[in-house]
Amino acid sequence: MIALACAVVPVLGAIVLLIAPRQREVAAKSVLILCAVIVLVAAVITTATRPVGSVTYLAGQYFVLDATSALFLSLIAIVFFGISIYPRKRLSNGSTQARDEFVVIRSLFFLASCVLAVLCNHLVAMWVLLEVGTLTIAPLIFFNRGPVAIRASWKYLKFSVLGLGFNLVGLMCLARGMGGAHGEHAVTFFLDELQALSTLGEKIWWELGLALMVFGLGTKLGLAPMYAWLPDAYDEAPPVVTTMLAAVQFNCVLLFLFRQVGLLRSFDPDLVSIELIGMGVLSIAISSFHIVRADNYKRLIAYASINHAGTIAVGLGMGKNAAYGVVLYVVSNALVKSVLFLTCGNIKDHYGTKQIASLRGLIRVMPFSGWAFMLGTFALLGFAPFGSFLGEIIILSNMAEGGYLVLFLFLCVMLTVNLVATGRALFPMIWGDTPEDEVEVKEPVWSIASSAFYILVLVSLGIYTPEPVTSLLQEVAATLDGK
């Protein structure tokens, strides 16, 4: 039941802020931090005390605590804790606390919906919770901002509703296949009951359902061809909102995909491989093209996010041994994006621009943010000793071992293109010659506290992963093959 407290606490925090109008302006940030700390502690206790291989059902059958939900619950809690300790003035990108309280209340409801989605054992309920999260966060993208941000937010909402709509149609096709033309067979959306079935019924229906489900979630993850919303939304949203989209919501949707792929692969292990690899390859190719052309650092990182989503899709499509690399890569990816998007907020606040060409010598002008940005960029590019390096190596080596040589070559070429393009754009921004009139900014240490926290976790994932964490990652990887 401690796991469910992770959802109850943020809701209580939001309610306290809603019913205490006089104090809420002052209390908003404190309540956010308090809730994030409680959720983090509860998530860590839940994960640490869960016996290996155990599956516990909560609140009847509606919620489940297994390896996958435990891992994603902890990941979300870690990311959200970092967001909560991000400096106050950048929460809403506004100048008053009154604006922050709106962001905090919505963020807490968003966190609760994400936690419940992660723990959910019913596919339609999980779908509802993801859509609730989408509707909660969408207005935060344009809150207190101009027409370009409103358009980006509207685009995000449109694509999300379409993506989740396709996914629901897919689920209903699955139900139609299971139930027969006149409802002669029982239909369920509970994951454990679905896994216990011997067949999913008429093949034409569940194959159509599967295609729509993957396409819908691909849209929500920002995979090509339906990726157009992602760069705009990530670029225009305030840093905390971008981080919530890129590292919290992204992982909830990914978990939904893991659940669906794992379920269907228990009926046929080779299912959806081609679709996932196809979407992944297309995403990597398109995002690499945009990374080469990027002139805005936040947008560049947004395109790199599409690139990473593509790598995850390719790894997931390969299944089998690459699954462990995929899970490790997913965890690292969430932390890398959090470091970079939050640091982007610091940089934008100081320079007032997102144009790469206007920035030089970041590491001398803003030492703390410069270092965080540099380490984040290294992790983004998959350098050692970060966890992303290890994840990428596992995926690539399994690709070569599995005989996917064309795919292996393609990924190697794209990795090189990305390395050169990102380095050419971002390295002068970090180390370039500083203009003479540019003076060093006295940054307080706490301005990068959240980024430092993420980097610490990232490095530890790459250098030494404790045995309980490794076995948790292995358990999650095993579920991806429907085991």
């Binding site: 339609v124 509802v128 937010s153 909402l157 629901l168 209903m172 139609r176 033309a181 239909v187 959306f189």
Partner: protein, 207 residues
């Protein structure tokens, strides 16, 4: 039930050929009414979840959605400015083509069962035309109608499957519908800011 589906299809297509904000919003209400009647004729009203779904379709989709959207509308688009899929012959022919595709999908998937053929055809056509409205138009108001049309198609597919959703999940689905409409209302008041000036080719999201 076939008559109800024909009326639902008409509610999707009529605003395409007679474009006006008021007609489009009222057609959404008609779609909601038809969906609730389809539920009534195709499912046994024997569980709290089905009752909840019926109430949701009737009260929220048929009544609340048009009322709320009309109430929230700021300056209405001038009659000549509002269009759901464009005004050229090619764009309108595309609607007919999508209708044909929808019916083709119904024939393939329904496999001779008249009720299924009709329902799948209508659902597929709603989904495709809804997507066309979203993709083809730069006016957010037209895209909003497209989103609701698409959602209508999703609901029809939902009604096709013999599901028995647990009551708490159905309650969540209904609450989500209200939340979705309220969120769209927030955008509706900002649509005049969002719509790019006519004749411009402004690139979005760059600076």
């Amino acid at each position: 039930m076939t008559n109800l589906l024909i009326l639902d299809m008409a509610a999707v297509v009529v605003p395409v050929f007679f474009p006006s904000w008021r007609v489009a919003v009222l057609a959404l209400g008609v779609q909601g009414l038809m969906l609730s009647l389809v539920l009534l004729t195709s499912h046994e009203i024997d569980s709290p979840a089905v009752v909840m779904e019926f109430i949701c379709l009737l009260l929220i989709r048929a009544v609340f959605v048009p009322w709320y959207l009309l109430r929230k509308t700021g300056p209405k688009p001038a009659p000549g400015d509002f269009s759901l899929v464009g005004t050229t012959l090619g764009e309108r022919s595309l609607v007919l083509l999508l209708l044909a595709c929808g019916f083709g999908a119904g024939l393939v998937m329904g496999r001779g069962d008249t009720r299924e053929v009709a329902q799948i055809s209508t659902a597929a056509s709603s989904l495709l035309i809804g997507m066309l409205m979203i993709a083809n138009q730069r006016q957010p108001a037209a895209q909003l109608i497209g989103l609701f049309t698409f959602e209508g198609g999703v609901t029809l597919v939902e009604l096709l499957s013999p599901h028995a959703m647990p009551f708490p999940v159905q309650l969540g689905v209904s609450a989500l519908e209200v939340f979705f409409v309220l969120t769209c209302g927030q955008y509706l008041t900002r649509f005049p800011e969002m719509a790019p000036p006519l004749g411009t080719n402004e690139r979005e999201g760059t600076r």
